[in-house]
């Protein structure tokens, strides 16, 4: 049992190193970031404790994946299997529990601990196997898969856009469109298997252009309800709305280029920093986009002719 957790830590360390962060820095930085984000949430809303509890349970429930647990069942006896799962769930809940106790939410912390222990009896493959209809089936794969994983977030974004018009808050409306952009960008964070790229008969340039075209088209489709609602209610600010719409498209293109610039690996830290820097200071894009484009062409030319 101990070996299993040693292996888990080794795998986590390998992922951190592959991402380009020194281990010591990561272990110092993560708790600090976690503390500040938690504090920020609690400073913004009185309902923070509920969001926090749900976030913790959501995170822990990822450990209930059936195939992983089938594997655990095959290597451990029943007692050890439940011990491993309890230890895993406790480890994933612990940071949230500590912060809750620090904030003085003792009853909530106990309930969270009990619920996380109840999760050791759950396995979730049946839910994930249910086919969710996707409007993007004609052009698989990023949006087809991404939509199935994040469809509920679109409902939140559209609700925020509706709220923006109800309370007359244009910025909230813009945020709802940025949220759509962030969701779409998340579809491009993981590199696909090389077989999928190799299959394409496009040149590296055509391949990238096609990826961007699909992304722009589907992002536009998904943002259209927000554009129409905000454009109608805040017609005096249509220019700002369109500016944000164009900017989000440019950032989506940057993320796609960053993905393929690092291909077949995941987006590494230096390229991640470049994307973040250009978010903070948009004129950076003028240098970042051509740089990432040439890197992406180089990476893809190994598989595409």
């Amino acid at each position: 049992m101990q070996e299993y957790f040693v292996l888990q830590i080794k795998m986590l360390n390998r992922k951190i190193i592959a991402f380009g962060i020194p281990l010591l820095l990561a272990y110092l930085l993560f708790p600090v970031i976690f503390f500040f984000l938690s504090n920020y949430l609690f400073s913004k809303t009185t309902y923070a404790i509920y969001f926090y509890g749900l976030a913790s349970l959501g995170f822990t429930s990822t450990l209930s994946e059936l195939k992983k647990n089938d594997f655990l069942r095959s290597i451990f006896n029943k007692t050890n299997y439940y011990k491993v799962r309890a230890a895993e769930n406790l480890a994933s809940t612990l940071p949230f529990l500590v912060f809750m106790l620090y904030k003085g939410y003792f009853p909530f912390a106990i309930i969270l601990l009990l619920l996380s222990m109840l999760l050791i009896f759950s396995n979730f493959l049946n839910i994930s196997n249910f086919k969710i209809p996707s409007p993007f089936s004609k052009r698989p794969f990023e949006f087809t898969i991404g939509f199935r994983k994040t469809y509920y977030l679109f409902a939140i974004a559209y609700f925020l856009a509706y709220m923006a018009t109800s309370v007359g808050n244009f910025n909230l409306g813009i945020f709802s469109m940025i949220l759509i952009g962030l969701i779409c960008a998340s579809y491009y964070l993981k590199p696909e298997n090389e077989y999928i790229v190799w299959n394409s008969s496009a040149t590296p340039r055509e391949f990238l252009m096609e990826k961007m075209k699909i992304c722009f088209t589907y992002f536009t489709l998904l943002s259209l309800p927000i554009l129409i609602i905000l454009g109608t209610y805040f017609y005096k600010s249509v220019d700002v709305l369109l500016l944000f719409f164009i900017l989000i498209n440019v950032y989506l293109a940057t993320v796609i280029l960053a993905k393929y610039a690092s291909y077949p690996s995941e987006i590494d830290l230096p390229k991640g920093i470049l994307v973040i820097m250009s978010l903070i200071f948009p004129p950076f894009l003028l240098g970042v986009i051509p740089f990432l484009y040439s890197k992406a062409i180089n990476s893809l030319s190994l598989l595409l002719k």
Binding site: K131, F141, Y195, S200
Partner: protein, 225 residues
């Protein structure tokens, strides 16, 4: 025709392919046999252009990879993509317009379910069907029969024969000799990354006996010594 001239591949210091030369003609089926780790999959990946290598591969089709269907021994599938969408993805990648995919579902696969939930054999059949619908000129099939039920094995055998009659080039590997002897025109024996032998159809029986003598009789004895 495809000319494979002295291709070699190293991973670090380990030479996985050593100066492999083959000439593959239209309308022929070629089998590659060899032990696990002999270099079959690496050879296939080099022919497909997924792996860089030394040596030269030329083809009358220009960019060979755009006319080549590769069936991997363990095909890759995304977690939330249906069988139908997988076929569509591979067709889109080659600018092939597909209509009525369900009508071409010869293996009766549940095309509207997530491919990741398929059994090993069903995944193989889906990947096989997808590359067939790409209408390729060349097919590289790594273990097309493994994990697949008997009925589907018979269908795959017939499809390979049909491809031959349509003047396509097929290269395949299998650990079941009978599947190769039934479909292949020539069999190459690969060992330690080298082509040790090229055998024509009339000598398949002799090759099988030789392989049995080397790999079965001598190896099994080791286990019981």
């Amino acid at each position: 025709m495809i000319r494979i001239k002295k291709i070699s591949k190293k991973y670090g210091r380990e030479k996985v392919l050593d100066s492999v030369t083959m000439n593959l003609e239209k309308g022929n089926v070629y089998g590659i046999v060899g032990e696990n780790g002999a270099g079959k999959t690496t050879l296939f990946r080099c022919i497909a252009g997924i792996e860089s290598h030394e040596g030269e591969i030329t083809s009358e089709h220009g960019i060979l990879k755009d006319h080549l269907g590769l069936l991997a021994s363990e095909p890759f599938f995304f977690s939330k993509i249906t069988g139908k969408e997988y076929i569509q993805l591979l067709a889109n990648a080659r600018n092939i317009k597909l209509s009525h995919i369900e009508d071409k579902n010869i293996f009766n696969l549940p095309l509207n379910k997530y491919a990741s939930t398929y059994s090993t054999g069903m995944k193989k059949k889906l990947a096989f069907m997808a590359i067939m619908l790409q209408k390729n000129e060349v097919y590289v099939l790594d273990e097309p029969f493994s994990g697949v039920d008997i009925e589907s094995n018979m269908i795959i055998t017939q499809i390979i024969k049909k491809l031959k009659s349509l003047d396509r080039i097929v290269i395949l590997s299998s650990h079941v000799f009978s599947t190769l002897s039934e479909t292949c025109d020539e069999i190459y024996l690969l060992k330690g990354g080298k082509i040790m032998k090229k055998v024509k159809q009339k000598d398949f029986e002799r090759l099988e006996k030789e392989m049995k003598a080397i790999t079965i009789d001598s190896q099994i004895e080791k286990l019981f010594k």
